[in-house]
């Protein structure tokens, strides 16, 4: 147990021995092997003695309980041994960048733990700490505007940010109560969380420092006053002192945005600095694009209806410079009312809304996420209430040559390039996708031809033979004719029948020749290389096959939907 904790904390993992049989004393049974060096390294860890102390403490405590020595229990509990993981963090991540690189799991874990109910599964303090740290992290992301991609998956929401040049991806579950599984060892998770909270705390501290923000985060004066004025009556206790209020805020859901509000003022300074540095560098274009993305929602005012995931949307919108608010009764920290005339987008996730204001778009939440991933404000028409939403694509997929590209992605890329579809929106994308789609098929087929020589060979055979036969047949027919004439006894009328000019496709012939050369060369490959080659080709073929399958499926689907539409039209 304590060895496991040590391994987790110190980041010791098993190794695959080079000679498994030798190490395993001749047996091939599956076993895990650690390096002796690693285990020795564990023994030198000062935290081992702390663990020992803790064990002793537990033993004493148990004894005291057993003897009903309550004062003893009190006393022991007061002197509960504690330990810190600071030095381990420093040791595992000697540089800050290392720590950032390894932040994915830490964030995912903290975000998960922060959503746990405060009952049973782990210490309340851990949950609170996780919540605090994740909120700090979100605040940092907002104020540094470093969010890049968001993806609504069926598992949860993926976020990807670029922090000091490192891409950090994390996933948060949807806001539901957890159905705690029984076959999960929460102790392991708790140990990891212990490490991750320490790591994330230090990382947050450092990150806040880089932005000259106060750590632990505080609201700036202006927004604080505003908030106070608004919520004093509701949250009387929280106005007692500044720190108390802040901590109370961090325990509630609203503080993300509340803090955000204040940080916006500071924000102006930092990007400008970053901009100066960027000018020095030659990558102006990328910089420009990024800055454009960073200020994607600048000047837009959002209002969240109560059924949308508030935290995620608020976080995302604030990260791209938008202003966001919600109903006052939903959560504290709302900044303006529904009735505000300057609201540009009202995010709703229900079929219809009662009172609609004219000068704002009523859209579904997917628009926000799709716009972020597309790095531009998408046309809102497809995201209106009650409209069938366009597919939500993963921003993490980078299509390479020969991969299947969904038509929606093609369309998006066209939009990004600045091509405006001339026709009304609903028709043009269809055509556009179909064209690209058919191209795609052709392309892949070509590849297949190149790859699948065997099949091609057979095909060729099939093609060639009949032609030969035909020739033969013709020849024979000619001969028969000649013979007949001869038989008729008349002088052989030498007749030059015009020969057919075979249409010779030179390019095709050359290609075929090349293909054959290749085939012959492949025959001469060494066994080992042939194996490798076959494997590579198999992988390629599989890829092509999968892409084709997807394309075919899509085509079938599109055809089905168009016929449906036609039928409906006819009926109407």
């Amino acid at each position: 147990e304590s060895r496991r904790r040590l391994c987790i904390l110190k980041g010791i993992y098993p190794h695959e021995p080079k000679h498994k049989k030798k190490v395993n004393k001749g047996s091939t049974a599956p076993r895990t092997f650690y390096l002796l060096k690693d285990i020795r390294f564990l023994l030198h860890e000062p935290i081992v003695s702390k663990f020992r102390d803790y064990k002793i403490f537990i033993r004493k405590l148990r004894k005291a309980y057993g003897k009903a020595n309550w004062s003893g229990v009190e006393r022991l509990k007061e002197n509960k041994p504690s330990y810190k993981l600071d030095h381990i963090i420093k040791e595992r991540y000697p540089s800050f960048i290392d720590a950032l690189r390894d932040l994915d799991d830490a964030l995912s874990m903290c975000f998960l733990f922060s959503t746990f109910a405060r009952t049973g599964k782990c210490h309340v303090q851990t949950i609170q700490l996780c919540r605090r740290l994740s909120v700090e992290w979100m605040n940092y992301i907002i104020s540094s505007r470093s969010l890049r991609k968001v993806f609504l998956s069926i598992k949860g929401i993926y976020y990807q940010a670029e922090v000091l040049g490192q891409t950090v991806t994390w996933i948060t579950p949807y806001q539901f109560a957890h159905d705690h599984p029984t076959d999960v060892d929460y102790r392991v998770m708790a140990t990891f969380t212990e490490l991750y909270t320490t790591l994330l705390g230090f990382v947050n501290f450092r990150l806040y420092q880089t932005l000259n923000l106060v750590y632990p985060p505080k609201l700036d004066g202006q927004s604080e006053v505003g908030l106070k004025a608004e919520f004093e009556e509701d949250f009387a206790l929280e106005s007692e002192s500044y720190t108390e209020k802040l901590s109370a805020l961090s325990a509630s859901l609203a503080r993300v945005v509340a803090q955000v509000e204040e940080e916006e003022a500071e924000l102006d300074q930092f990007p400008s600095e970053a901009g100066e540095q960027g000018n020095l560098e030659a990558r102006e274009k990328v910089e420009l694009e990024q800055s454009r993305q960073r200020t994607l929602f600048e000047g837009l005012k959002f209002f969240l209806n109560r059924e949308v995931p508030r935290e995620s949307l608020a976080f995302v919108i604030r990260s791209f410079g938008g202003q966001v608010s919600w109903d006052k009764s939903l959560c504290i920290g709302s900044t303006y009312e529904v009735t505000d005339e300057t609201i540009t987008h009202h995010i709703v996730d229900r079929p219809s809304v009662g009172t609609q204001y004219i000068n704002r778009f009523y859209i579904q939440p997917q628009w926000v996420y799709d716009s972020i991933n597309g790095k531009l404000l998408l046309p809102v028409e497809e995201y209106f209430l009650g409209v069938t939403l366009p597919p939500h694509l993963s921003p993490f997929v980078e299509e390479s040559e020969g991969d299947y590209v969904p038509p929606e992605k093609v369309k998006l890329m066209a939009l990004q390039r600045g091509e405006q579809p001339g026709q009304p929106l609903l028709q043009s994308p269809c055509e556009c996708t179909r064209a690209s789609f058919s191209q795609d098929i052709i392309f892949t087929e070509n590849e297949e031809e190149d790859d699948e020589e065997e099949e091609e060979e057979e095909e060729e055979e099939v093609e060639d033979e009949p032609s030969d036969d035909e020739e033969e047949a013709e020849d024979e027919a000619n001969l028969a004719e000649m013979e007949e004439r001869r038989l008729k006894g008349k002088s052989l009328s030498v007749k030059v029948t015009p020969g057919k000019v075979k249409p010779e496709n030179r390019a095709r012939a050359a290609e075929e020749e090349k293909a054959e050369e290749k085939r012959l060369a492949i025959m001469m490959m060494k066994k080992k290389e042939k194996y490798l080659y076959d494997k590579i080709m198999f992988g390629k073929k599989r890829k092509v096959r999968e892409a084709n399958k997807l394309a075919a499926k899509r085509k079938a689907h599109d055809d089905a939907s168009t016929t449906d539409k036609k039928k409906k039209k006819k009926r109407s």
Partner: protein
């Protein structure tokens, strides 16, 4: 009462307040009991239960028995708490009212009784017995370390860690004074509440990149989680959703084999998306992976597959070689087992399972002659001597020597003459084979000599000079497998005394007196003059089917039924110089071209593969083998494709006979 009686004054070091009150209480009860005794003398209401705990009678209506054995009932008192309280508040004598436990009556103590002095059982007299007989602890003699410490420096007193009780128990007046002083002076502060929230600071403030050493160079960082694709979206494009069969297949798969750990789903709007039930599972599995999975750096081979293909000279540069099928010789009605080309290259003979031998003109594909023989033709071989026009045909257990009388009449008549000029030797020799001369009608048809063998003859092959002929009668048990005939002398001999396995085929060396015998797995090379085995070639295959010797004589190719072709360089080694696995099925025959550096192999997959096999005169240079053409044309019938291949003696043409009853010429 007993305890009270024994109580006596002791020199106790201190009076504990609780103990004091106890003694006082007991004094009270004692006086009460004495009064009881007095009263007993008057009224005879005595409780006879004796000195027992009175709560034993708690649940009964009576409280004991009097002398006559009658129950003494408890006085009826229905005082509840409230009455008790009111009594306490209002009754001025409440304090002097006690309850007699033996009778349950309330007794008001008189002034006299109240004033009764307590019996001083801690008297000044020293009794012989102590209150307790326990010997004194050692610690009462020796001052503890903590006390010593306290005595020395009261300000550094670690009061927060000391057991509170021991402190109070053993602190002396002096020490107490010191502690009070320390508290007054602010040296000792009250217990600070413990810090529960972790403190963060700039851990990487003094970050020195040079200090990163040792372990970190070896560290393998954990791979990041795979990023989700389109199929994980809550609203994926329709093509990523699984169809019904796919979903079934997914459900039937083992969870470990699944390509996706979840089923892609489509939700019409965001609010319909439920919680993902395996979220915690997946995080947990990731945790397990992080600390339980062995990490290993794997070098990914990132090869361009094109680079793996060997660079060979282009077939175009290696011309001439046959490239296209130009003629088909049709006429046989069953599979054509064997073909042979005349040394002039003008005629072709083919033998088939339809018991005929056909002679063709090569250039026109005309069948010039059809000869019926008595059985399925196993092998035909044209005499390689250009001055002799003779064909050896084997069917059943006979070998027929035939003069087709094609081409030059002179040669044909010379051949006839040669055969008829044979003179019977004086002494009759014992021969394993019967030589008989054909006459009459058969002679007219071209038959010249018939050799009756004891067993079925599978292969006939000529020596280059055209006088000797070797026949193979495969039989594992017999020594009589190979026979060498001399046509001019009509002599036959069995060159081998021992059987070395099932002989598949034999061949003469084109120039030197060597003889190649291929058994199932080996090719043995015999020197015919010295009559000894010179080499044994290991073919590395299961079953040799055919063999051909290079016209220069230093290289041999062997085709085998396990679809390999082995090229032996006799100067190099007894192992194959190269094994070619070009065919997909068993090889049936192989052949060398007499002049061009070409060899061909025919296989059951219906293909003839022509390879360029250049043998250099320079001994240091290994032969160059390049496949140049795959010739297709024969269709596969009864799982058989090409049965025999043979090169034209002068042109770069190749003939092939197949199971589809045709012979084809590729030029």
């Amino acid at each position: 009462m007993v305890c009270c009686g024994t109580a006596s004054s002791r020199a106790l070091s201190c009076f504990h307040p609780a103990a004091l009150s106890e003694t006082l209480g007991s004094c009270g009860t004692q006086s009460e009991q004495e009064e009881d005794d007095e009263r007993r003398g008057l009224a005879d209401i005595r409780n006879t239960v004796g000195n027992i705990p009175m709560e034993w009678y708690k649940d009964y209506p009576h409280i004991g028995y009097d002398l006559e054995g009658k129950k003494i009932f408890k006085p009826i008192r229905n005082k509840d708490e409230l009455d008790e309280f009111l009594d306490k508040m209002e009754n001025p004598d409440y304090w002097r009212t006690v309850q007699n436990k033996m009778t349950g009556e309330d007794i008001r103590l008189s002034d006299e009784q109240v004033d009764l002095p307590a019996i001083d059982f801690f008297s000044s007299e020293v009794m012989i017995h102590p209150v307790t007989n326990r010997p004194r602890d050692k610690r009462s003699f020796i001052p503890s370390l903590i006390e010593k410490e306290k005595a020395r420096s009261p300000c550094s007193l670690p009061i927060f860690t000391v057991n509170h009780e021991t402190v109070t128990a053993s602190v002396s007046h002096h020490q107490v004074g010191k502690l009070v002083h320390a508290i007054k002076m602010g040296w000792i502060k009250p217990r600070r509440p413990k810090e529960t929230t972790p403190q963060y600071y700039d851990l990487w403030a003094k970050e020195d990149p040079n200090s990163i050493v040792g372990r970190h160079s070896m560290h393998v960082p954990a791979p990041k989680m795979r990023l989700p694709g389109h199929e994980e979206s809550y609203n994926p494009p329709p093509e990523y959703l699984l169809s019904e069969e796919e979903r079934l297949a997914w459900a039937q798969q083992d969870p470990e084999d699944r390509k996706l750990s979840y089923l892609p789903q489509k939700f019409p709007y965001l609010r319909a998306v439920p919680a993902y039930s395996r979220f915690i599972h997946e995080r947990f599995e990731r945790c397990l992976d992080l600390y339980l999975c062995p990490r290993q750096r794997k070098m990914r081979v990132n090869v361009n597959p094109e680079d793996l293909i060997p660079k060979l000279p282009k077939p175009k540069d290696l011309q001439p070689f046959p490239t296209t099928q130009s003629l088909v010789y049709r006429g046989h009605s069953s599979l054509v087992r064997t073909i042979s080309v005349s040394p002039s290259g003008q005629w072709l003979v083919s033998g088939s399972d339809d018991c005929t031998v056909r002679f063709w003109e090569v250039c026109t594909a005309r069948c010039l002659k059809t000869v019926e023989v008595g059985g399925a033709v196993k092998c035909v071989a044209w005499n390689p001597n250009p001055s002799i026009c003779l064909v050896a045909i084997s069917y059943d257990d006979k070998v027929l020597l035939m003069n087709p009388s094609l081409g030059d009449r002179l040669i044909s008549s010379a051949t006839d003459q040669l055969i008829s000029s044979y003179e019977e030797p004086e002494e009759e020799r014992e021969q394993p084979v019967q030589w008989s001369v054909s006459e009459g009608e058969e002679h007219e048809r071209g038959h010249r000599l018939v050799l009756n063998h004891p067993k079925v003859v599978k292969q006939v092959t000529w020596h280059g000079k055209g006088d000797y002929m070797a026949c193979v009668m495969p039989d594992n048990s017999s020594t009589l497998q190979v026979l060498i005939h001399q046509v001019s002398k009509r002599r036959t001999q069995n060159p081998f005394r021992k059987s070395k396995g099932l002989v598949q085929c034999v061949s003469f060396h084109p120039v030197r007196p060597y003889f190649f015998v291929a058994t199932q797995r080996y090719v043995r090379v015999y020197n015919l003059i010295k009559q000894e085995l010179t080499k044994k070639l290991m073919a590395n295959c299961k079953w040799i089917s055919s063999m051909a010797v290079h016209p220069a004589g230093d290289n041999v190719i062997c085709g085998s039924y396990d679809s390999r072709l082995a090229w032996f360089d006799l100067d190099l080694s007894t192992k194959p110089y190269k094994v070619l696995r070009h065919h997909k099925k068993a090889l049936r025959s192989v052949a060398y071209h007499r002049h061009y550096p070409l060899f061909a192999s025919g296989s059951d997959d219906g293909n003839v593969i022509v390879c360029h096999g250049m043998v250099y005169n320079d001994l240091l240079q290994n032969p160059l083998i390049v496949p140049v053409k795959v010739l297709k044309g024969h269709s596969i019938t009864h799982d058989l494709g090409v049965l025999d291949v043979s090169f034209h003696p002068t042109q770069p043409w190749v003939f092939s006979s197949g199971a589809d009853a045709t012979v084809r010429l590729f030029t």
